[in-house]
Symmetry: C2
Subunit: 334 residues, 2 copies
DNA sequence: TTGAAAGCGTTACCAG
DNA sequence: CTGGTAACGCTTTCAA
């Protein structure tokens, strides 16, 4: 019951392995092999359940190109959606997929080797964690595409949401509603800190005097970060009329905690998110948020994987403001 | 800039490839190679950035075992979480991972071949879709582990939530609250239909006269199924005091739609889910639901992958009733 | 203490 | 029209 190989087919038919190879590769008609022979070979291959060995074709250099996926941020609800789209696209493009994950732990040489062992056609990094470990991959001139934001070496082609554009629209929306003062709640992560300083920077030149003066970065992450942040804001007795959250998950935690404390959203305080998870539209109140073009980013990433040759790119993909129920007019007395 | 191989190291050092192989495999001290030579080899290997070729070791039969992951249900929010845990565990157990996805489309021979090409140590199927395509994998005596519910061939080791136990507890909870009549909302999928008939079956012998008499299976799926189901129930003007949903996602859609129509949850109608997604605890009202032991299922799946030899198993993992805010006493006039 | 050679499954070139 | 042979990168047995 061992593996069915071209050799075993050849032996059974009393032919040579090379002939079998050519027939099965469709490279036989070109040369002038008897159609009858070809048919016989194909038939027995089917009968015996022949499937070519990935290891062998890989070695030979004729196998399907392999796409490496490095999951850098599996906790993010985001992750599942991105991965799903990557799988779909890779299927269309006939890529084989290998997968590794890093999470928050230190990435050591062994983790990277798992990827390097394969002859990667390209590497897609999903998530916004630190990129220090990528160096050896760059040295091998493997095209690297990253879906996520944050600093990355030049050799990395990065597809990220255009956070600046998004936050500009968001702030204008709040401004129009009469808000002049907002708070910010996020987790103590690079991505979130960056979003916060992005918002601060935009507001620096604001002529209407809109300012961001309550900033809380929680130790927890995701929903819990939201709960912690909201609690800390309330403890200080200083909850501004609008709270900008660094992700939808954080916003959900914030809204829940406010609700438990009897703070009405959006009556007393407006809350915004970032991501537009499927849940955002269905929460009560439905969350006003910025939609990350997840599917678009995943799709271009896979498409680029084929075309790329270690070129620097940094594409900001448009982010869309989704105005829903969690934002409303600024409360009278701020 | 081509690949660094043992041969290239050997050439550089004026040694033979076999010696390099032994040194790098740690099989050199045993035989009596000069420690000095070993050190030299190891050093240059590091310098040149040597990483063994997965294809070659695979061919030789000495490579890391490969675990195949078939994602059968990528839409499920569930999917990301399961995958994250699988990645974590595989890392510990030194598995290489290959990934394919099916979704709802028909699975053809080519899809299965992608998996069969690799010399899979085992295959983990994530999701509850149809298993018709698995036959050729079984014939190759590859251990198959499935995380998800629904019918599967004998050769598949299945880890699934103990739905019966869970729903029994859930129904008792509702019964205690005074409910005697419930509705059911799900998507038109096997998993959901099964959950519905499970609930109906349990209720058949109920001495308190608890019955399930409004069943809606929506064409949409996930959140949208919930919205559609709730709408249909309201259109019929017959919303029972409790609505059991076949998943958390469905429940969220249901609650939102009820909220929009002014139906108070849990005052007018109690709503329950299944999954216990991170969001469940933070929705308003927080969702009473059944917790799937996602991490446990993923972990045992990976652990079994090593030990299994095509044995039939069907393990029901305990499900935990999470009582929160979305269920309350039955309304006066039902 | 080290090297040569065969073989894992495929493919491609060169003979026949 | 078809077969032999070498090579991809690595391990292992046997010989030196």
């Amino acid at each position: 019951m061992s593996r069915v190989t071209q050799k075993s087919i050849a032996t059974k038919l009393g032919l040579s392995p090379s002939l079998v190879s050519r027939a099965l590769a469709g490279r036989a008609g070109d040369i002038g092999v008897l159609p009858e022979t070809i048919a016989r070979i194909e038939q027995t291959a089917r009968d015996m359940g022949y499937v070519p060995s990935a290891a062998a074709t890989q070695l030979k250099g004729t196998g399907d190109p392999v796409l490496g996926i490095a999951a850098a941020d599996m906790e993010d609800p985001f992750f599942g959606n991105v991965l799903a789209e990557i799988i779909r696209c890779s299927h269309e493009h006939h890529y084989a997929l290998t997968l590794t994950g890093f999470e928050r732990r230190n990435v050591d040489q062994r983790d990277v080797d798992v990827l390097l062992k394969q002859d990667l056609a390209a590497l897609i990094v999903v998530g916004s964690g630190p990129m220090g470990w990528i160096e050896p991959v760059i040295r091998r001139h493997i095209p690297i595409i990253r879906i996520g934001s944050g600093p990355a070496p030049d050799a990395v082609a990065q597809y990220e949401p255009d956070e600046e554009q998004g936050f500009r629209e968001l702030l204008e929306h709040l401004s129009t509603l009469g808000h002049r003062r907002a708070g910010f709640i996020g987790a103590d992560l690079d991505v979130h800190r960056n979003r916060q300083s992005m918002v601060s920077r935009i507001l620096e030149n604001d002529r209407n005097g809109f300012r961001l003066d309550r900033i809380v970065l929680a130790h927890a992450s995701g929903i819990e970060a939201g709960r912690e942040g909201a609690r800390r804001m309330m403890d200080d007795g200083d909850v501004p009329g609008a709270v900008i959250c660094s992700s939808d998950a954080v916003a959900f935690g914030v809204m829940k905690t406010f609700a438990e404390a009897g703070l009405d959203v959006p009556g007393r305080v407006s809350v915004t998110g970032f991501d537009d998870l499927p849940m955002a539209g269905v929460y009560s109140p439905a969350l006003t948020t910025l939609r990350q073009p997840i599917n678009d980013m995943a799709r271009v990433a896979v498409e680029m994987a084929g075309k790329l040759r270690t070129f620097r790119t940094r594409v900001r993909m448009p982010v869309k403001l989704m105005v829903r129920e969690s934002t409303g007019p600024a409360p009278k007395e701020a």
